[in-house]
């Protein structure tokens, strides 16, 4: 579970990382791009306008003439007539080198720009004259050996002037278009990243299935992004090594248990052959316990490898009946009773009869071991796929309930080995429950004692 959480978290983080950065980029782009466009466009417009102003200035210059050196210049009336209403809002003035007005197209006879710096470069200006915004330039020229300034300006408010309007309308549209394109790009990126990570998600789901009994699972390389493939290979190689070690350990457990069985049999039969019944009785519990530990070790080794086929089904009621039948003589020997109650019809569950028998048997053996003499151990089968094993023993304190199903945990106050579980029994039950997709828990019983509840998923009746 922790692994799953960590993986998810990392994926989410990478994902949001990408998306976050992308959004930052979009914000910056949508700010910078219109500004850049505005700048470039403005510069283009300005140079276009300067060219236009220059053509007008050249026209005015060609229309100028002086009758004698020092005389005021005159303008060809044909040129003069081009400047007035309906002429694209253009105006001109001619100044002498000191800035005194020589000629003007303006009705008020004022210069378009009053202050001129000395130099021989064209100088642009923007000015408000009356209600109109003028943009224009002053060009230095020489006429009849005299330095003069020819100023040309354009009234931007004139209906014929559209360039600035185009610029003003064009820009917001460019802005919206670019923002929405960028958002679309973001969406596409989200999809691409998700798609690229899908094999990783599949692999992590698969990795969750890896347990001691499913150690053969390997992560698929197919469809994995090239960047992640080396990690998948490394994980699979690590799993290979782990599997080898795990198998070796499991085989050792099984082999040791196996090898112990024949000497235990010899020992048992030697004890059985002793003439003194008291000594026999004293030795039997120990040898029986050893035999059970060996069986349980083998059961655990076997359980690690077994996978329950989803098609397997077993009758839980038959399992309990068999358990009661099997253990009743043992219980009676210890002056305890076994009672079977609950479902009267078969209870079909998903699983294997023999494993479920082992589970219920371990629960009942545990109950018999802890039940006081003269009491009843109850086995109740419920049609919802549940077995409850009830005893009148000391019960299990809440803080020990989780520990109970771990290997080799045993009630500390139990010192006698006789009839006691080897500490493996309940862990076997837990393992079998887990492999059946079921559950095991222990609760307090009303009136004293413990109730162990084994749940197994129901199956369809065959």
């Amino acid at each position: 579970m922790r692994v799953r959480g960590a993986l998810r978290w990392t994926f989410r983080s990478t994902f949001s990382h990408i998306i976050g950065l992308q959004m930052l980029a979009i914000a910056a782009t949508s700010l910078i791009m219109p500004l850049a466009i505005f700048m470039f466009l403005n510069r283009t417009v300005a140079s276009y306008q300067l060219g236009m102003l220059r053509r007008h200035e050249q026209g005015v210059l060609h229309g100028l003439s002086v009758s004698a050196p020092g005389a005021p210049p005159r303008l060809d009336p044909a040129v003069r007539s081009r400047y007035g209403p309906g002429n694209g809002g253009f105006a001109f003035t001619v100044l002498d080198a000191r800035g005194a007005l020589l000629l003007s197209s303006q009705p008020d006879g004022q210069a378009l720009a009053s202050v001129l710096r000395a130099g021989d470069q064209a100088q642009t200006f923007k000015r408000r004259i009356g209600a109109a915004d003028y943009t224009g330039a002053s060009f230095p020229e020489t006429l009849g050996g005299r330095r003069i300034w020819i100023q040309v300006g354009q009234n931007l408010e004139d209906p014929d002037v559209v360039l600035d309007d185009v610029l003003a309308r064009f820009l917001p549209q460019v802005g919206w278009l670019s923002v929405s394109l960028l958002l679309l790009l973001l969406l596409i990126d989200v999809l691409i990243v998700r798609r690229a990570l899908a094999p990783v998600r599949r692999a992590s789901t698969l990795a969750e299935a890896i347990t001691p009994s499913r150690i053969d699972v390997r992560l698929p390389l197919e469809g994995m992004p090239q960047e992640i493939a080396p990690m998948v290979l490394a994980v699979n190689a690590a799993l290979d090594r782990l599997e080898r070690g795990f198998r070796a350990q499991r085989d050792l457990t099984a082999d040791v248990a196996h090898e112990l069985r024949t000497p235990l049999t010899v020992l048992r039969m030697r004890i059985d052959a002793l003439p003194d019944a008291q000594i026999r009785a004293a030795l039997h519990p120990g040898i029986d316990l050893m035999g059970r530990i060996v069986s349980q070790l083998l059961a655990i080794a076997e359980l690690e490898t077994v996978v329950i086929d989803p098609a397997d089904r077993a009758d839980l009621r038959a399992v309990c009946l068999e358990t009661a039948e099997h253990l009743a003589p043992l219980a009676i020997l210890e002056h305890k009773q076994i009672e079977l109650e609950g479902a009267s019809a078969p209870v079909w569950v998903r699983g294997q009869h023999d494993f479920l028998f082992q589970a219920v048997r371990n629960l009942v053996e545990n109950a018999i071991a802890h039940a006081p003499s003269g009491s009843v151990v109850g086995i109740a089968v419920h049609p919802r796929g549940e077995v409850r094993v009830l005893d009148r023993g000391p019960g299990v304190p809440p803080d020990r309930r989780a520990l109970l199903f771990q290997r080799f945990w045993r009630r500390r106050d139990r010192t006698s080995a006789a009839g006691a579980g080897a500490g493996l029994g309940l862990s076997i039950v837990a393992r079998i429950a887990e492999q059946h997709g079921g559950s095991i828990s222990v609760e307090a019983r009303k009136g004293g004692g413990a109730v162990f509840v084994l749940g197994v998923p129901l199956a369809d009746a065959p």
């Binding site: 196996h258 090898e259 069985r261 024949t262 235990l264 049999t265 010899v266 020992l267 048992r268 039969m269 030697r270 059985d272 052959a273 039997h284 040898i287 050893m290 035999g291 060996v294 069986s295 083998l298 059961a299 076997e302 009946l321 009661a324 039948e325 099997h326 009743a328 003589p329 009676i332 020997l333 009773q337 076994i338 009672e339 079977l340 109650e341 294997q352 023999d354 494993f355 086995i379």
Partner: protein, 227 residues
């Protein structure tokens, strides 16, 4: 009644023989599959006790060959393998019963006796629990050696349980055997019969007691309290 024990562990073989002899059987020991096969060819045995771990051949394949040759002799397998799959394999190979090591001597004896009592085999003439014994042929019951009179139904009930000493006889099985399928019985008819039998045994101070396993069935065992 002669038994063949096929066991390669000499300690265990020796112990098996002495335990069987103590319990009234005669037995021969063979320590390999090959010698066991020769022994079976040369003599008639009532049953075979077969250890699966033999030096020259796997016990299961030995058993399969034995069955293929048509030998019907009851076989009890002894094994150190106790897995569920192993048990199924053993029974499939033709074993009649299966005992996982380590086992109690009395368990081995009880299983062998049960094997020998099977239909078609020699029936035990006497069934015993505690100081109670039943002559199966004459249907006469003895308590501490004294002949006692029991009703026919009580004898039927006792026989059912005494054939499976220490094991539970399912209630449904008792119903079928005692009352037959065609005579449906009231749900407490068996309980009444058991109750009467229990009283009767108490009255006679028999060291055998009938236990009820509620929801499962009944079984008879030696009364350990008086022992």
């Amino acid at each position: 009644m002669r038994l063949l024990v096929v066991e390669d562990n000499l300690d265990l073989a020796e112990l098996l023989i002495s335990a069987l002899v103590r319990n009234g059987f005669a037995a021969d020991v063979m320590t390999s599959a090959e010698s066991a096969q020769e022994a079976l060819a040369g003599a008639q045995y009532a049953a075979v006790v077969l250890d699966l771990g033999l030096p020259d051949e796997d016990g299961l394949s030995f058993l399969k060959r034995l069955r293929q040759r048509g030998a019907g002799v009851p076989v009890l397998i002894l094994t150190a393998r106790g897995g569920l799959a192993d048990r199924v394999d053993g029974l499939r190979a033709g074993a009649d019963d299966y005992l996982v090591k380590p086992f109690a001597t009395e368990e081995l004896v009880a299983r062998l006796q049960a094997l020998l009592r099977r239909p078609g085999e020699i029936l035990g003439r006497r069934l015993e629990v505690g100081d109670l014994s039943l002559d199966v042929e004459t249907r006469q019951l003895f308590v501490a050696g004294r002949p006692e009179t029991f009703s026919a139904r009580e004898v039927d009930l006792l026989e059912l349980m005494m054939r499976r000493v220490g094991r539970v006889v399912q209630r449904g099985f008792v119903e079928d055997q005692l009352f037959g399928l065609d005579s449906p019985v009231g749900s407490n008819a068996i309980e009444v019969a058991i109750h009467r039998l229990r009283k009767h045994l108490q009255l006679l101070r028999a060291r055998a007691v009938v236990h009820t396993v509620k929801g499962v069935g009944y079984f008879i065992a030696e009364d350990t309290k008086q022992a």
